[in-house]
């Protein structure tokens, strides 16, 4: 049962130097209780995709396509509808927990705010719920911490506060945008545990946006690989790591260090070139310029995800990687 279904989502920014195509014809679906990872380099459009769902992009962004959340179309919906969706049905966790929390309000107040606006709780009740939520995300002595300001908490605790705030109203979809990037590795694991735990207990669907393949391998059920605004590969997490089909995915995996006998002795392979900045989306493969397997047809016709739709393993590539690479995930 799909909670969120996104079809043909495109985002074009109007800038001073002209239009900029950031997201192109993205399809994705999220089932109840599912954790889907979106992976890609900085600037590939993964955060913009997530922000566009609830109309959080600046007014210079032109969003087209469709995003249906439990029967409600979100793209083009009036602000009053979107405001009810934000924080209650679709909640966000952002990358930098220090700057994402307001420095001049206590964490209890910031968590309570969501409950007061969406569930009409009184100040005292909201505070009591905030204490429960802090306990839920594993913050010790929550009754004391609820009156703390963000600067009095560690980075990991701040991110837990962000999560508590996000799940306060029991959202259907939790968007975690680089939830662990600013944190120590040991703290990262704790945060991912919290997310997994919330999925088990509350049945929340989670969209994890990251550039970190380790996070994906750790937490995701399914993976979408984005490149220059398009989804180039879609696969179950084991399939993706065991047998990537798109050359970009294969390149990403080859650029990640693998523990083992070669560790520290051979250079990581990088993908040559840079991510293109696109004014318009060409009718071609946007990765062709950097792809060793590119042929003439890659430059004249856009490859679509094959097979289209659904959740099977698919790649938007005319000449997918042959199934021989057996990299361990």
């Amino acid at each position: 049962m799909s909670v969120l279904t996104v079809r043909d989502l495109s985002v074009v920014f109007r800038t001073e130097t002209g239009p900029l195509s950031v997201v192109d014809k993205v399809d994705l679906s999220l089932d109840a209780g599912e954790i889907v990872g979106v992976v890609g380099e900085s600037g590939c459009g993964k955060s913009v995709t997530a922000m566009s769902l609830t109309g959080l992009l600046p007014s210079s962004a032109n969003v087209t396509g469709s995003a249906v959340l439990d029967g409600t179309e979100l793209i083009g919906a009036p602000e009053s509808v979107l405001r009810r969706v934000r924080g209650r049905e679709v909640a966000y966790i952002f990358q930098e927990p220090m700057s994402s929390l307001n420095p001049v309000l206590t964490v209890g107040r910031q968590i309570g705010e969501v409950l007061r606006v969406h569930e009409g709780l009184k100040r005292r009740d909201a505070r009591a719920r905030a204490v429960e939520l802090l306990a839920l995300v594993g913050i010790p002595s929550p009754a004391h911490r609820v009156d703390n300001y963000p600067h009095q908490l560690s980075g990991g605790m701040r991110q837990r506060v962000m999560i508590a705030m996000a799940v306060a109203c029991g959202p259907k979809v939790l968007v975690a945008d680089e939830p662990t990037t600013a944190l120590d590795v040991t703290v990262q694991a704790g945060i991912l545990d919290v997310l997994r735990d919330l999925r088990e207990r509350l049945g929340t669907s989670v969209l994890v946006i990251t550039h970190d393949l380790g996070v994906i391998a750790d937490i995701a059920d399914r993976v979408l690989v984005m490149y220059a605004g398009r989804i180039v590969e879609r696969a179950g997490v084991h399939d993706l790591f065991a047998a990537p089909r798109h050359h970009y995915t294969a390149g990403l995996l080859a650029a990640s260090p693998v523990p083992g006998e070669h560790a520290g002795t051979h250079r990581l392979r990088e993908i040559p070139g840079l991510v293109p900045v696109l004014v318009t989306q060409p009718d071609a493969c946007t990765f062709a310029e950097r792809c060793a397997a590119a042929e003439d047809d890659c430059r004249v016709q856009e490859p679509r995800l094959d097979p289209p739709g659904g959740s099977g393993h698919g790649a938007a590539c005319w000449h997918p990687v042959r199934q021989r690479r057996g990299a361990a995930s």
Binding site: R83, R86, R88, A91, S100, N102, V117, Y149, H151
Partner: protein
């Protein structure tokens, strides 16, 4: 906190002492002899000597300063060499005028400035911002003495809506008091609001671009809550700083406005005292100004820590 207050009080006293000493010595280095000014037509050496003896001007500067400081501590600031009135009494009538003018003007300036600055930041690139920016530019570039004169000309002289000059103490007749102070407050306040507006606008723009404002929007808060609770509160540090500086400057220097509107305030008293070499009055003026600055600075520091919990006075982390 107690240690902090103690340090702060000690520093304040030192500042007061130094400011007074510098001015005390400074005015005596100015050309012009108060005895000559006081003597009038009768400039015989005997008359001058008598005047010098009467006011202690024949003694060394250090003795004079010591006597002044000792008296000041006991609440006696001497008598005006010009009018023979006790300086504390002069302050008693002049200060309320200036304090009322300054507080009302700064209140108006803050309300206007913060309001317009917020609107300009939120409605960036739209007509509301152009209007606010344009008005601020006018407020900054048009000298308020000129604006005051124009206001007197059109609102007082030709239409008689407001009195052109003078002052009525609030306790004598509150309505007449406000009637007299409206024009000066508006002229002074609108000029100051332009600065506050510019500062509010730029710090609001910073705040609106922050991650926590994005978080606030993503929580589904109404724009009013996003702007008022999240963005504006973080911009207030800048506003409080500016308002504090302006208030200090107003206490000591609403000179032009007071002069134009004939308000018998502190600024007018200062100017008169300087022109007449009225040493006791000048010294008192400096003492009061320094005290006002120190007091306002202290208030501003306390406000900082109320606005932003990361700032704790005395360095004691909570």
């Amino acid at each position: 906190m107690r240690g902090y207050l103690f340090t702060r009080a000690w520093q304040s006293l030192l500042t007061l002492f130094l400011a007074t000493a510098v001015v005390f010595l400074g005015i005596r280095a100015l050309p012009g002899d108060p005895a000559l000014a006081l003597a009038g037509e009768d400039r015989s050496p005997e008359a001058l000597a008598a005047i010098r003896a009467e006011y202690g001007l024949d003694q060394s500067v250090f003795v004079q300063f010591g006597r002044f400081a000792w008296n000041a501590v006991r609440g006696d600031l001497g008598t005006s060499t010009r009018t023979g009135v006790e300086v504390t009494a002069m302050l008693g009538t002049a200060l309320p005028v200036t304090i009322e003018l300054a507080l009302l003007a700064i209140l108006l300036a803050t309300v206007l400035g913060v309001g317009a600055g917020t609107v300009a930041a939120v409605r960036r690139g739209r007509p509301a911002e152009w209007l606010a920016n344009g008005l601020a530019l006018i407020g900054l570039s048009v000298p308020h003495f000129w604006l005051g004169l124009v206001a007197i000309l059109y609102l007082s002289v030709s239409t008689g809506l407001f009195p052109a000059s003078g002052f009525v103490p609030f306790l004598d007749d509150p309505v007449a008091n406000l009637h007299h102070i409206v024009l000066p407050v508006v002229i002074l306040g609108t000029g100051l609001s332009a600065v506050i507006m510019r500062q509010t606008r730029s710090s609001m723009l910073d705040a609106l671009g922050t991650d926590y404002v994005r978080t606030a929007k993503a929580k589904g808060l109404r724009p009013r809550a996003v702007i008022g609770r999240h963005a504006l509160r973080n911009s207030l540090i800048v506003v409080v700083t500016i308002v504090g500086l302006q208030l200090g400057a107003l206490i000591s220097g609403a000179v032009v406005t007071e002069q134009i509107f004939g308000l018998p305030g502190f600024g007018k008293m200062t100017i008169d005292a300087v022109f007449q070499r009225d040493y006791p009055v000048i010294q008192a003026v400096v003492l009061v100004t320094a005290t006002a600055y120190i007091g306002i600075n202290f208030l501003v520091d306390l406000l900082y820590s109320l606005i932003d919990p990361r700032i704790r006075v005395g360095g004691a982390a909570a």
